[in-house]
Amino acid sequence: MWQALKRLYHRLGSPKWFFEISAKWSPWFLWIGAALMAAGLVWGLAYAPADYLQGNSFRIIYIHVPSALLSQSAYVMMAVGGLIGLVWKMKLAFVVSKVIAPIGATMAVLALLTGAIWGKPTWGTWWVWDARLTSMLILLFLYFGVIALHNAIENEDLANKAAAILSIVGTINIPIIKYSVEWWNTLHQPATITLTKKPTMAPEMFIPLVFTILAFYCWFAVWLFARTRNEILWRERRTQWVKKWVRDNAL
């Protein structure tokens, strides 16, 4: 058991192994994600009934909730990657952390924009400075901070460490986002999905949401793999296996 774990750890730390395995997995995540996204969006946009209060504007939920969830999960992954990099000096963990930041930032932007646009017909305003919206904005700024550190610090080792520390400290914001709708008065509605309670939505509204959430996570894997593969190619550009791979995949 211990031996197997140790082997797995060394493989996970091996860029070449990750490069090969991610090439095999990517198409699966891409196409399963595409099928889920298509099914979820067609169902959610055209077939699900309208909300009795919000009418059809509630259909924004099928991209708002997945992007908001993913922006937070991605953040935790980025922080965990940073922690693994700091503690066990695993290079690949730092690489994964670094490439998550721009992806997570796009998800936070999507959640904030769709939230603002949804807020206009529902609350009568694009934006309020309440706890949920403000903590989501802080999440976006944390992503910007991590990206800026990587861009600004020339020394890669130092940049990785600084970004890791910022990500780890910033995880304090994640429970604040989650509980913001319970701790403070807010316009934002409480959680749509909880793992412990039955959904408060009708199944024909809820199931397509589950589909699009899974689709977002599948595509996140595709983006993460693609960016990590790029980083690996560049870092290992002087090795024989990369040269051979480039020769075999010439433009």
Binding site: A46, A48, P49, S57, L110, T114, R237, A250
Partner: protein, 57 residues
């Protein structure tokens, strides 16, 4: 089907502007996430090929 015509589908009960604006931004952000690593990859491949040619000389 919730809507009885294509027009009412696009109108989204008067909320069409908000719904389709959101989905437009969604499409744009998905495209960015798929395309930007692909473009970067082409660039990296070119750079590595140039480096390999230099080494052969």
């Amino acid at each position: 089907m919730h809507f009885d015509s294509l027009n009412s589908f696009f109108a989204m009960g008067g909320h069409g502007f908000y719904v389709w604006l959101c989905y437009g931004i969604f499409a744009l952000i998905m495209a960015v996430n798929f395309l930007s690593p692909a473009i970067k990859r082409r660039q990296i491949l070119k750079d590595i090929e140039r480096q390999m040619r230099r080494e052969q000389k």
